[in-house]
């Protein structure tokens, strides 16, 4: 369950990165649709956080330690909202680039999460 969600989130993050990258390429700031996309990806990371904590509560252990696992879950959850707020402050193509970079960072975090859980 967690592995599937990790994969889905990673793909969604990369799609978001490509989408915002495209907006940046065309010289556009992030728009409402982009923020809906960010919300979708954030909901995925929230689901991941909840399921991860439930799994820990059920007594399952991540391969590389509980602290690191929880830290990465929190980091993944905060990643896209943080980039989104920065793109609100910068209403140019560079705001879009920032969200695109956020998507790439999130995808990397997902790969690390997969390793940490020991999938």
């Amino acid at each position: 369950m967690l592995d599937v969600l990790t994969l889905v989130t990673a793909v969604a993050a990369l799609l978001l990165a490509a989408w915002c990258g495209w907006a940046a390429y065309r010289g556009q700031p992030t728009k409402d649709w982009h923020f809906i996309g960010m919300a979708v990806v954030t909901v995925l990371t929230l689901a991941q956080l909840v399921i991860g904590v439930v799994k820990l509560a059920q007594g399952q252990d991540p391969e590389q330690g509980t602290t690191i696992f929880v830290a990465y879950l929190l980091g993944a959850f905060a990643c896209i909202p943080a980039a989104g707020f920065m793109s609100l402050a910068e209403r140019t193509r560079w705001g879009s680039v920032t969200v695109a970079a956020g998507g790439v960072v999130l995808a990397v975090l997902q790969v690390r999460l997969y390793d940490i859980w020991g999938g």
Partner: protein, 142 residues
């Protein structure tokens, strides 16, 4: 005219591409600080040098992020010095880890020129130095 412009606003360092730099530096702050805090707290004896260097890198990243957000001429100069220090650090530690891997039983943020972090540690200071140079010219022209 000159009278009304006496109080000049601080040079904004986070306009345009600057926002991307702040974001990436912010990510590196979280990465380096949380990583070194965890490692120093749990397994410091295994690789004291590597973990101390990671913590140091985190502090430098934190300061650069702060100066970028604050803006202004002094901050710009301070940020430039720190980016130069950062670049020197990445190059030194990167070379060090390649020449003498035995000194580093575990990786630092700056190992192998930041390969574990998509080479962001070595690319960031270069682009930041370039950006900070550009924003001065902009300020002088404007």
């Amino acid at each position: 005219m000159a009278v009304t412009e006496e109080k000049k606003p601080r040079t904004r360092l986070i306009a345009g591409p600057g926002i991307l730099l702040v974001w990436l530096y912010g990510v590196m702050v979280v990465g380096a600080v949380s990583r070194s805090a965890y490692q120093i707290a749990t397994e410091f004896d295994r690789a004291p040098l590597a973990y101390t260097l990671s913590a140091l890198a985190g502090v430098v990243y934190g300061f650069i992020t702060y100066t970028l957000v604050r803006g202004g001429e002094t901050a710009r100069r301070a940020a430039r010095v720190c980016c130069a220090v950062e670049l020197a650090g990445v190059l030194t530690v990167g070379t060090w880890t390649l020449i003498e891997p035995s000194a580093f039983p575990d990786a630092t943020v700056w190992s192998d020129y930041g390969m574990g972090y998509l080479f962001i540690p070595v690319l960031l200071p270069v682009s930041a130095l370039y950006w900070l140079r550009g924003s001065r010219q902009q300020a002088a022209a404007g």
